[in-house]
Symmetry: C2
Subunit: 127 residues, 2 copies
DNA sequence: TAACTGTATTAGTTATAATAGTACACTTGA
DNA sequence: TCAAGTGTACTATTATAACTAATACAGTTA
């Protein structure tokens, strides 16, 4: 399904969370699509099932997936409700990142280009 | 100088790095301006001097400050040279963040507004 | 020279990440 | 019904990282 970097220093469970987050946000995984079981994915990645469980729990906390005992874990529907707190947080993150981007030399035009590309594609599928 | 959140889970030295990074990028601290000494800041924040040292070392690695034995630590000049690797990295980060922003419900217009605000102010001073 | 600066080293404590093994409750399909 | 697969919970153990602490050394400045 994907690869892990065991030497990156980044916790394995975080890497798993990030991968799924990316797949879900980009709608590579569709709503109600089943994720690999805890044990199955653990075997594939040759890591401990508890590590997968921790990742799935985190994804559930972020409301990206839902889990049903005995059945499995599934991709959540994209929330129709906008969380004002999340929105505000993202705006602040955006400001920070844009400021830093300008600092390291990304030009205003490059930024506009990146932004318009994404906005016109509606944020769907591949980057 | 600023406050720490000792319960945030985020390492103290990272918080310090982030604060200074913000101050430097936003040019609140000017080129060659002196940072508080390791011991002084440690006393102000009532934490260990080694933690400050770790933060300063990290800032030096990121080329945001330079340190001179016996004199102190100072804000680096903004690099005139553009690092293509950093630029590419920032563009990718920007894509990721924008995709996530759209996902949580930040509208395209809000994004454009945030972007234009920053671009027109040249990324200077306060957010 | 005294007082300040950054830097280095060693040690110890605490918290987190990850592994390992086991157990329980639920769902599904043969 | 029941076996196999599912999520979940718990305890224990090891390894690593973060942080504190104390001390020492080297350079700068007035």
């Amino acid at each position: 399904m994907f690869e892990l970097d065991l030497r990156s220093g980044k916790p394995i469970y975080e890497q798993i969370v990030d991968k799924f987050k990316e797949l879900i946000i980009n709608q590579v995984l569709e709503t109600d699509e089943k994720l690999p079981s805890v044990r199955e994915l653990a075997q594939q990645l040759t890591i401990n099932p508890n590590t997968i469980q921790k990742a799935y729990r985190e994804l559930e906390n972020q409301e990206l997936i839902y889990s049903v005992k005995g059945r499995g874990s599934f991709v959540n529907a994209i929330s129709a409700q906008v969380d004002p707190q999340k929105v505000k947080h993202m705006q602040e993150e955006l400001k920070k990142l844009l400021t830093e981007a300008l600092f390291v030399g990304v030009t205003a035009d490059e930024i506009r280009s990146v932004v318009e590309n994404l906005l016109q594609n509606g944020g769907g599928s591949d980057a």
